[in-house]
């Protein structure tokens, strides 16, 4: 009979004795998991480099960066809400129509009825929440698939928009709303000279520096806390490298913006939303429950997650974000039109999936969805800079979406995540 061989001991020592394929896979699995979660950022960087070259650097000019952000802000805001819904294993096809109807409502309130703009915005956002609650009720409590409910919503709210607006747009909007959607922060402290780069807004630069300092400080403290709990942390060199890269990125964008017209307000809004929702998704019980529901609905039920309530509230949230996007879109055009928000839902959904969300739910990140949205924005912008016709832009975007999801499926199969 055989006694215990060195091989037996080795299997036991490396970990999973029950599944002998584990030990050899650790390093390989680790690498491919890394590739899977960071591939999107690498792809984003490559796309930027590609279009910088193709456009002779026009892509990264101050005004163009500003344009990319302002022109896509509403889709990015929608993508934040959409990724949460997709993580939970649902979908929302109605956001384009909700953008239209809330934009229309805000116009009616402010332009036709003369309601003060802060109150009008508040009412509009509440209306968005109610729309979300309406859809959330049918999905969470009545049990109709989100695909159907929001497909109905897409028609319902478009119909409502047309009823309210008739066939024409309503405008113009008050200046404050236009500034929020289209404007820039004030140059409180004047300009400073940046040598060969010319003059730049000091206030914007200060905000950038504060943001970098905040990021580094928060990461450093988190690292310290992890060490305090005896967890493994990345080597200090890697940490410094990561922080330096992050700081350089922020600094570059801020400097370019400061050289143009200061910080767009929507960028400030977006930054706040991204930060808040990232924290919510990762650090709160509510956020965790969204992932639990998408990962395994029945296990979530059996673990005491209030599934119906969580699903209801993420649709309410989507309604609120749609209303914000609706106001910004209408404000930017200075007019609420009946065709506003057409196919925005598709852009938001594409952003989420390009950004690494899994079709089955349970996987995805807010920052990923934003990156996915920015990838499409850069493709859009870069291709129009080099004068590509719109059908070709569409073609490329479709191919990118398919490729991103195919990559996700492929890496999942390679790592054998599901048995």
């Amino acid at each position: 009979m055989s006694s215990i061989t060195p091989a037996d001991v080795a299997v036991g020592a490396t970990g999973d004795g029950g599944a002998p394929r584990q030990p050899g896979r650790v390093s390989l699995g680790g690498l491919s998991v890394n590739l899977r979660s960071s591939g999107i950022y690498i792809a984003f960087a490559l796309i930027i480099v590609l279009f910088s070259v193709l456009t002779d650097g026009a892509l990264l000019q101050p005004q163009n960066i500003s344009n990319i952000i302002v022109q896509n802000s509403y889709v990015l805001i929608l993508a934040i809400g959409m990724i949460l819904i997709i993580i939970a294993g649902h979908i929302d096809l109605s956001v384009g129509s909700v953008v239209a109807v809330t934009g229309g409502l805000s116009a009616v309130l402010m332009v036709n009825m003369g309601v003060a703009w802060p109150l009008a915005l508040l009412i509009t956002i509440i209306a968005g929440a109610l729309i979300g609650a309406w859809q959330g009720y049918w999905i969470a409590y009545f049990g109709i698939p989100a695909f159907i409910v929001t497909l109905a919503g897409m028609l319902l709210f478009r119909a409502l928009t047309l009823t309210v607006l008739g066939n024409q747009g309503i405008g113009p909007f008050p200046d404050q709303v236009r500034t929020l959607a289209n404007g820039f922060t004030n140059g409180y402290f004047g300009n400073v000279g940046l040598g060969p780069l010319g003059g730049a807004d000091l206030f914007s630069l200060l905000i950038g520096v504060v943001a970098i300092a905040g990021m580094v400080l928060a990461q450093w403290r988190a690292r310290g806390a992890r060490k305090g709990y005896g967890q493994a942390v990345e080597p200090i060199a890697l940490f410094v490298l990561k922080m330096a890269a992050g700081a350089a990125l922020i600094l570059f964008v801020v400097v370019q913006l400061a050289r143009f017209k200061n910080l767009p307000w929507v960028l400030v809004l977006l930054a706040v939303l991204v930060l808040a929702y990232s924290l919510m998704a990762n650090r709160t019980v509510f956020g965790r429950q969204i992932y639990a529901i998408g990962g395994n609905l029945q296990a979530a039920v059996m673990s005491g997650v209030k599934v119906k309530s969580v699903v209801f509230w993420i649709f309410v949230n989507m309604g609120v974000l749609s209303a914000i996007a609706g106001i910004i879109f209408a404000g930017r055009l200075n007019q609420a039109g009946p065709t506003a928000g057409n196919s925005f839902e598709l852009d938001a959904i594409a952003a989420a999936f390009i950004g690494g969300a899994a079709v089955q739910g349970g996987v995805g990140k807010v920052v990923g969805a934003i990156t996915g949205g920015l990838i499409m924005a850069v493709i859009n912008n870069g291709m129009s800079l080099i004068g590509s016709p719109s059908e070709r832009v569409m073609l490329v975007k479709g191919a990118v979406l398919l490729a991103a999801v195919a990559f996700d499926v492929w890496t999942k199969r390679r790592t054998g995540a599901s048995r």
Binding site: M1, S2, S3, I4, A7, D8, V11, G12, T14, G15, D16, G17, G18, A19, P20, R21, Q22, P23, G24, R25, V26, S27, L28, G29, A225, R226, G228, Y229, G230, Q231, N282, R283, T284, V285, F286, R288, Q289, Y291, A292, G295, N296, Q298, A299, A300, V301, M302, S303, G304, V305, K306, A358, G362, V363, G416, A417, S418, R419
Partner: protein, 509 residues
């Protein structure tokens, strides 16, 4: 000298970085029932996947000879064409289709692409007769139980003129009645000349049915025993599987039993799918602190249904009855209430109800107990990590770290994650439904030790199990359930398999 229908020799299958099979040999004689035994992860399923062409020729080293011919299968279709059919542990039936449609799925009885329904249903009925399945061929699969579904799979195999039938854990989900029927059926098929290979954890069944048994450990063939000539016992097989003599399958335990912790009275539950059918009928039981209580019953007796209906009404409709915690009446309307009252339920179906397989160990462990790890809705992630790491060490969860994905763990380690999750909620009452299903012998022992430890901490534990020896070895007291009614309560000293079986079948006439 008997003819060998199948010879696999020198099979080596390598996954990136690890050899799952190493020089494995398997010889199966024509017309025998050949069992393959081994711990989880020993390589049994991989070997069967090599044989059935899931891993195509060229993906492995070694040689397969079937019916005297060398085989180079490129896929399942090739192996099925040769007469090899594999029935997986997780049945591959389409729930909304009828029995007949499932039997002929991919092999439709059709003329020029148009299905001949009369022929389909007629031939299905013939096959169903052969396997002893008394149902209408047009009944949807979702309306029949797991035991019958297993028979449908076999009927499907027979429709393909199978010569070698491979069954992976065929009785894992079956009650003793259905298991016995299935084993009889396999004997019958053997007499008709169909060779069977069965993979099984249930060693008593292996002893009862097999003509030969091949033991695999760590991807290598250990030995092949002939039932007729060798003196084969369960302990003999176990020692081959684990490489050491296992003199005691259950850790010794003397419980100190305290006050009553939980009582169920007059509990009645109706089936959600068949209106008017009582699944649990006036059941009552009492759990005391520090006590391990068993709940025995055949599949369909209502064991899981009883547990789930108590655990936040997660099963059944029109539930009535009374619950008492520490002697005081309580109301449990949902899972949150149950957890709040210190009740935990570890499911029999880990993958479906117990775990988020795409998530890591730490987030699975914290899934039910996040409240304790958070303040005003914010999770303390470092604390979560620390707690998970503590469970990983304390429960001996074999994984590189708590950030390892749960779906990649073996069954035993997954079960430890499920148990950790519930222990984190600091329950007073733990209901463990089939806590050792589908996990290997070594891990079972560890689970038993954990259960004993929980009882020693003063928790009341209810163990639901299909394996009577497990209940006899583990429990201080055993209830029997039959057709939704409690038919007996037997203290450890008086419990025997025969007595329990008698009570479990009582009142079925």
């Amino acid at each position: 000298m008997t003819e060998h229908i199948l010879r696999m020799s020198g099979i080596t299958k390598t996954f990136p970085g690890v050899k799952a099979l190493q020089d494995v040999n398997l010889s199966v004689r024509r017309g025998e029932i050949h069992a393959i035994c081994g711990e989880n992860g020993a390589g049994k399923s991989t070997l069967m996947k090599v044989l059935s062409g899931v891993y195509p020729h060229g993906d492995y080293e070694g040689e397969i000879t079937f019916e005297g011919r060398r085989c180079e299968f490129g896929g399942i279709r090739d192996s099925e064409h040769a007469g090899i059919v594999i029935i997986h542990q997780e049945l591959a039936l389409s729930p909304q289709l009828s029995i007949a449609e499932n039997i002929f799925l991919g092999n439709e009885r059709a003329r020029r692409g148009v299905i001949d329904w009369n022929r389909t249903n007629y031939e299905a009925a013939e096959l169903m007769k052969r396997v002893g399945l008394r149902e209408n061929p047009t009944t949807p699969i979702s309306d029949i139980g797991v035991g019958k579904q297993q028979l449908v799979e076999i009927a499907k195999a027979l429709s393909k003129e199978v010569k070698l039938l491979i069954l992976d854990e065929p009785t894992a989900a079956l009650n003793d009645d259905d298991s016995a029927h299935l084993l009889d059926l396999l004997r019958g098929l053997r007499d008709e000349g169909i060779t069977c290979v069965i993979i099984s954890h249930k060693l008593n069944e292996v002893i009862a049915i097999a003509d030969a048994v091949t033991i695999i450990r760590d991807g290598r063939t250990i030995e092949t025993l002939n039932m007729a000539t060798d003196d084969v016992t369960e302990d003999r097989i176990i020692s081959g599987m684990v490489g050491r003599a296992l003199d005691n399958r259950f850790p010794p335990h003397e419980g100190t039993i305290g006050e009553e912790a939980f009582r169920i009275e007059d509990w009645t539950v109706y089936s959600p799918s068949q209106p008017g059918r009582k699944v649990v009928d006036g059941a009552g039981l009492t759990l005391r602190r520090g006590e391990i209580v068993g709940l025995a019953g055949l599949m369909g007796a209502g064991r899981t249904e009883l547990a789930m209906s108590v655990f936040g009404r997660t099963y059944g409709v029109n539930i009535s009855g009374k619950l008492y915690k520490d002697g005081k009446p309580i109301e449990i309307r949902n899972v949150q209430d149950a957890i709040g009252h210190g009740i935990a339920y570890a499911t029999e179906d880990r993958k479906r109800y117990g775990l988020n397989l795409i998530e890591d160990i730490k987030r699975n462990i914290s899934a039910a107990g996040l409240k304790g790890l958070s303040k005003r809705g914010w999770v303390n992630e470092n604390e979560e990590y620390r707690v998970a790491e503590r469970f990983r060490a304390g429960m001996n969860i074999k994984a590189p770290g708590v950030t390892s994905v749960v779906g990649k763990l073996s069954g035993g380690n997954q079960q430890k994650v499920v148990l950790s999750k519930w222990i984190l909620t600091e329950p007073d009452v733990l209901i463990l439904d089939e806590p050792t299903r589908g996990i290997d012998v070594g891990a079972k022992y560890e689970i038993y030790t954990i259960i004993n430890r929980l009882a020693d901490q003063g928790k009341a534990v209810l163990v639901i199990s299909s394996e009577l020896p497990e209940l006899l070895g583990l429990c201080d007291r055993i209830y029997t359930l039959s057709e939704g009614r409690i038919t007996g309560e037997v203290p450890r000293a008086e419990a025997t398999q025969e007595r329990l079986m008698y009570l479990m079948t009582k009142g079925q006439e």
